[in-house]
């Protein structure tokens, strides 16, 4: 029978009592532990500067890049999963459904590949992809990508600033704009048969926008070469503009004097402006641009997050548009 009778308060042995000096150090101990944990975290943060922050998924050829030191180039947002980045794409050359580029872009041949750089430049020429890859050191850059459709991702790109190429080809005084032209080959790209857009896909930037250090000539993502559906083998990434400005699978880069006709502006001039800077205050006629859904992160039942002017890259790029009416020049 286990019946305990109450014997009142049982005093511990004196040897079991924590000495006053020790228990008063309890808080110091907690502080020390907390500091240690934060220290481990900070160490990770610090190495982020030195090493690429991403783990390659092991699907394609490796293309490592050193973490960029450019201000604004390493977004602290959690990365969008590789699967979402590579299966939810707008690449109309492979169909208008966002699932179809991943299914159909296997027909794209990325070797051999050349990019013709032409127009108002001192040194025009046709660059082979291997030559382009060696033009400047590869950097990893973690950019937010905001689609005009109201969703966003965070993607670790690999590439180098487009300005490295621009400096090499030496624009003349007549070069005011840069046009980017995507490959348009019906045999490789089944979507070309549809008349959704005027082909080849064409985009453009002002020369100073193209020269901005955040404008990235991109060859890879997640530490590997670009999957075809993401615009292999070389594409543009302009993080403060809506995604469609970042032309994929580039065949031609032209330096021109007047504003080039872009595909989307040709189709819907009231809906897609030449600048297309991310701007929560300028609605698309069919939907508000005030908020966005972060793919892979914001749950179905979560309120969409606020969209930032210039996609949060205002400190780096706002000066490009000083004195401009952003509502008129949308």
């Amino acid at each position: 029978m286990l019946i305990r009778t109450d014997r009142g308060y049982t005093h511990p042995h004196s040897s079991e009592i924590t000495p006053r000096a020790v228990y008063e150090r309890r808080r110091d101990f907690l502080k020390l532990m907390a500091g240690g944990v934060a220290g481990v975290g900070l160490a990770g943060w610090a190495t982020r500067e030195a090493l690429a922050a991403t783990v390659a998924p092991g699907k394609l050829a490796r293309l490592p890049g050193a973490a960029s030191r450019e201000p604004g180039a390493m977004a602290a947002d959690p990365l969008t999963p590789y699967k979402d980045v590579t299966t939810y794409n707008n690449f109309y050359e492979f169909g208008t459904d966002k699932a179809s580029p991943a299914l159909k872009a296997g027909t794209l041949r990325t070797r051999p590949w050349t990019v013709s750089v032409e127009g108002a430049i001192a040194k025009p020429g046709v660059f082979g992809i291997e030559e382009l890859l060696k033009l400047a050191p590869m950097e990893e850059r973690i950019y937010r990508l905001r689609c005009v459709e109201g969703w966003s991702m965070v993607i670790p790109w690999v590439g180098f600033p487009l300005r490295e190429l621009i400096k090499r080809v030496q624009p003349t005084g007549n070069a005011k704009f840069v046009q980017f032209v995507t490959l348009a080959d019906e045999r490789q790209m089944p979507g070309i048969r549809s008349r959704v857009l005027p082909w080849p896909y064409s985009e453009g930037l002002r020369l100073d926008e193209a020269m901005h250090p955040l404008t990235l000539l991109t060859f890879g993502l997640y530490g590997e070469v670009l999957p075809n559906q993401n615009g292999a083998p070389v594409r543009l990434v302009v993080p403060w503009k809506y995604g469609f400005k970042s032309a994929k699978s580039l065949a031609k880069i032209r330096f021109v004097e007047s504003k080039p006709a872009t595909s989307w502006e040709t189709v819907g001039p009231q809906e897609y402006g030449f600048y297309s800077n991310v701007n929560p205050d300028v609605d698309h006629p069919r939907w508000s641009q005030a908020s966005e859904r972060r793919i892979g992160e914001d749950g179905l039942f979560q309120r969409k997050r606020r969209t930032e002017l210039f996609n949060g890259y205002g400190p780096q790029v706002a000066s490009l548009y000083a004195g401009m009416d952003l509502k008129k020049n949308f």
């Binding site: 979402d84 969703w151 006629p285 859904r293 179905l300």
Partner: protein, 225 residues
């Protein structure tokens, strides 16, 4: 022979529950996929789009009942028209709720502003509103209380709902200059509505008044022919 056998099939007591289950299965799949996280990278967009697609599909199925009945002579098909119509309204309602909840976070102020500001949303919303009185008067007692003529007059609203719903889809895709899918729905629903116009025209040529399809009341109750 085959025709009679088919008519018997349509009359079979499990025919209606089976059609009901089949009609509900897209919703069941979407609901499961939403909770199992199987809707892809953008589940909100997937839900809004597919419920919209299913609304149009059920609208087409509902409008197909009368032409099919007349062409095949299978009058028993009429037994399914009300259910299909109600499913159109059901998927339309889920579509609007998905948009309101998953896209707009149930912020009613934002939703009202959106409806007023954007013609394509206004069109879609109007189509659902116009369907509401049809759904509300779909039961037998409403038919009897209204009288067949007036009931039928009211239910011709579906001929307004269909083009407005198609316009909604067309305008929505106009933003992307992508009309392939809307064109398919316009072609199908256009044929179904065009058949009605053609038949009325034929009847007028013959000098006879067209015998309209009558409201169908569940077997066992009095018909209002």
């Amino acid at each position: 022979m085959a025709r009679i056998r088919f008519a018997k099939l349509l009359q079979h007591p499990v025919a209606k529950p089976l059609v009901f289950a089949a009609a509900l299965s897209p919703f069941a799949w979407l609901a499961w996929a939403a909770f199992a996280n199987a809707l892809g990278a953008n589940p909100a967009e997937a839900l809004i789009r597919s419920t919209g697609d299913w609304t149009l599909r059920f609208l087409a199925l509902t409008l197909a009942v009368t032409p099919l009945r007349v062409i095949t002579g299978q009058n028993q098909l009429l037994r399914f028209r009300r259910m299909l119509g109600l499913f159109t309204f059901f998927y339309g309602t889920v579509h609007v709720l998905s948009y309101s909840g998953f896209d707009m976070g149930f912020y009613w102020g934002d939703i009202v502003r959106d409806i007023v500001k954007r013609p394509f949303i206004l069109a879609g919303f109007s189509a659902l509103l116009l369907m509401a009185p049809l759904a509300a008067t779909s039961f037998n007692r409403a038919i009897r209380a209204m009288g067949a003529k007036r009931w039928q007059g009211l239910h011709r609203l579906i001929y307004v709902v269909a083009p407005v719903a198609l316009l909604h889809f067309w305008w929505m895709r106009a933003g992307k200059n992508d009309f392939a899918e809307p064109a398919v729905y316009i072609a199908i629903i256009g044929v179904l509505l065009g058949w009605r116009v053609w038949r009325r025209w034929q009847d007028e040529m013959k000098g006879t008044r067209m015998k309209d399809s009558v409201p169908f009341i569940r077997s066992g109750s009095t018909r209002t022919t």
